[in-house]
Amino acid sequence: MKVKLIHTLMASTLAFSSLATSAATTVTIGTVNNGDMIRMQELSDKFEKENPDIKLEWVVLEENVLRQRLTTDIATKGGQLDVMTIGMYEAPIWGERGWLSVMDNLPADYDVNDIFPSVRNGLSANGTLFALPFYSESSMTYYRKDLFSDAGLSMPERPTWNQIRDFAKALHKPEQDQFGICLHGKAGWGENMALVTTMANTFGARWFNESWHPEFNGSEWHETVSFYVELVSKYGPPGASSNGFNENLALFNSGKCAMWMDATVAGSFVTDTSQSKVADKVGFALFPKQVTDKGAGWLWSWALAIPVSSDAKDAAKKFVTWATSKEYSKIVAQEHGIANVPPGSRASTYENQDYMKAAPFAAKTLQSMDNADPQNSTLKPSPYVGVQFAAIPEFQSIATQVGKFVAGALAGKMSVDQALKNSQSVTEREMKRARYY
């Protein structure tokens, strides 16, 4: 009898424990490794405490690896990930193909209208929202106020590229380990081509004309790439063609760059005394213009989306709405300080005077985000959406190849003419292959 009772008790315990295990829904999140995402990972304990029926698991990868991983999983409906960290490039394309769940029926207190309209539009396809923004960014100019003041120079609110060249020339002192300007040189569609495309917008260039023919053989692209190559070769650091965001950040933070144009998210890094030797000497200006200020400042967002192949959609949505909510911003402010609130997505962040005081770069970030318009980013009309990219599936591969030619021209391996000629023929071939004409 006793033995029977023990057996029954053991069996019930086992059954209950397995029930308890199966009751918790596991949500697997694929994300990139950066400060804001890691903070989210740390703070997600609070979400799990509030939702004991949901267990979170993290897959953190490098940006390019993550992109390849997500593309494989979503295209084959692998269903390994329940939440994906994607950008403004993927959201409309994948959404339109029916690979992502629609972000509708959000809780009333979520206040979706608080998200900047440009960010909302960038994450939508045909007016349907497919991802919720975690943080967003534009681009702007960082400069050393002390060096400008010593040289008797003053930075306008939105400089022209010609002014930037003059400043770079005046402040370029390689013998003192001080370089006039640091810019993206590393090849890649999200690396040098994000900068060069944004720059090209201000020179009046566009990637494609109204009938999707590339325009690298036009005078605007020639002026842009010639200007970029001359500027960086003459007044940039040595080996600039292999410098990306992190290399330039390190150069700027160690006091070796007089100017740097890159993502607004760098504002929190260059003003952080624990990693920047020039934290109190940094000034902020808008991204430079040339013949126009249309498209002068890119727009990007890291957003959370739910693939249709996920078998935990409800739990995933609960987490995504929590991580991108105003409530989450409050938790970050309490735990990590208000300057570390995810930037660029919500208007309410910038209505908070405490945030504006704590983050000296916030005003320029807001202005840059306000100016960015992916629907209308080129001087001449263009058929594509996107400031620093064209939101078509072929762009990633084309721009990666064009980026290599531009980096080749910067490294002196080919002339600007040759780089543009190659870019034109590669782009035409790919567009023809994709049956645009």
Binding site: T28, N33, N34, V65, Q80, N246
Partner: protein, 277 residues
């Protein structure tokens, strides 16, 4: 004018110096990685690079608080040893038949096996991914063991085949005359003779499986992810990460380095003993 003795001594010293130079050159990246792991992010990125700095354990503490190192390390151990064991079980009989019962097609079969290594892995990513998805092998250690076995099998067969070829057939024939079965021939004669070669094959397979990154990143998520996935998670598109990446790489390399160091005596002994060598 140097005497013959002095010339020999000089030659020994020069050769010694050359050996040390080559060894230090090969070891330098590992040394620099370990050094960088004790720097702050700002020191890790400084130009010119710093050799002297105030060391910190901050990176290791951050890794400890952010990631479950032992979960990833255990997965690496299971997958590497599992695939090596599985690979040896297949490679030894395959190499035995090819070395001692050679046919017209043996050479072309060996070349064909090696040709599978010439295809870039990304070329078969989608079909393999779909096969794994349909078989429920995604994010499982069994799935990784299967794929690593298949990846390393051609090299393992080639290596063991080369060692077996050096063994005279007469030894096996003698065993056969004494009444040994094929299994006894392999287990009681062939394997003891070629244990040095087999040990090298095992070690190479372990190292290749331990360091493999492409398939482990693409076929796992959280449950079966090995140390290569942990290392990849510390590379950042926006933000300084070299010091933390160096720390996590040091932790990822450490077990296999220690294993290689501990097994080197046995390996050398295995290579120098035997009936033939």
């Amino acid at each position: 004018m140097l005497s013959l003795k002095q010339a020999r001594q000089l030659q020994t010293v020069l050769l010694g110096l050359l050996a040390w130079g080559v060894a230090l050159l090969i070891f330098f990246p590992i040394f620099w990685m370990v050094l960088t792991s004790f720097k702050t992010e700002i020191d890790a990125f400084s130009t010119p690079p710093q050799l002297f700095f105030s060391p910190t354990l901050e990176n290791y503490l951050q890794i400890d608080s952010r990631s479950d190192y032992f979960h990833f390390a255990w997965n690496s151990v299971v997958v590497s040893f599992g695939s090596t064991l599985f690979g040896m079980l297949l490679a030894v009989p395959a190499a035995y038949s090819m070395a001692f019962f050679e046919s017209k097609r043996t050479k072309s079969t060996l070349l064909w096996m090696l040709s599978t290594k010439m295809l870039p892995p990304v070329g078969v990513l989608v079909p393999i991914y779909l096969l794994f998805k349909d078989s429920g092998l995604l994010d499982t250690k069994v799935g990784l063991v299967i794929i690593y076995t298949l990846i390393n099998l051609p090299i393992m067969v080639w290596m063991i085949y080369t060692y077996f070829k050096e063994i005279p057939k007469d030894i096996l024939e003698a065993a056969r005359l004494d009444g040994a079965t094929a299994t006894q021939e392999i287990t009681q004669v062939l394997l003891p003779i070629s244990k040095g070669g087999l040990a090298s094959t095992v070690l190479l397979s372990l190292i290749l499986s331990w360091n493999e990154a492409f398939w482990s990143l693409n076929l796992t998520a959280s449950s079966a992810a090995p140390l290569t996935a942990l290392v990849a998670s510390y590379s950042s598109p926006e933000g300084l990460f070299w010091a933390k990446l160096s720390a996590v790489s040091t932790l990822a390399c450490a077990p296999i380095l220690i294993f290689g160091w501990l097994s080197q005596k046995q390996l050398v002994r295995g290579l120098s003993f035997g009936a033939v060598k």
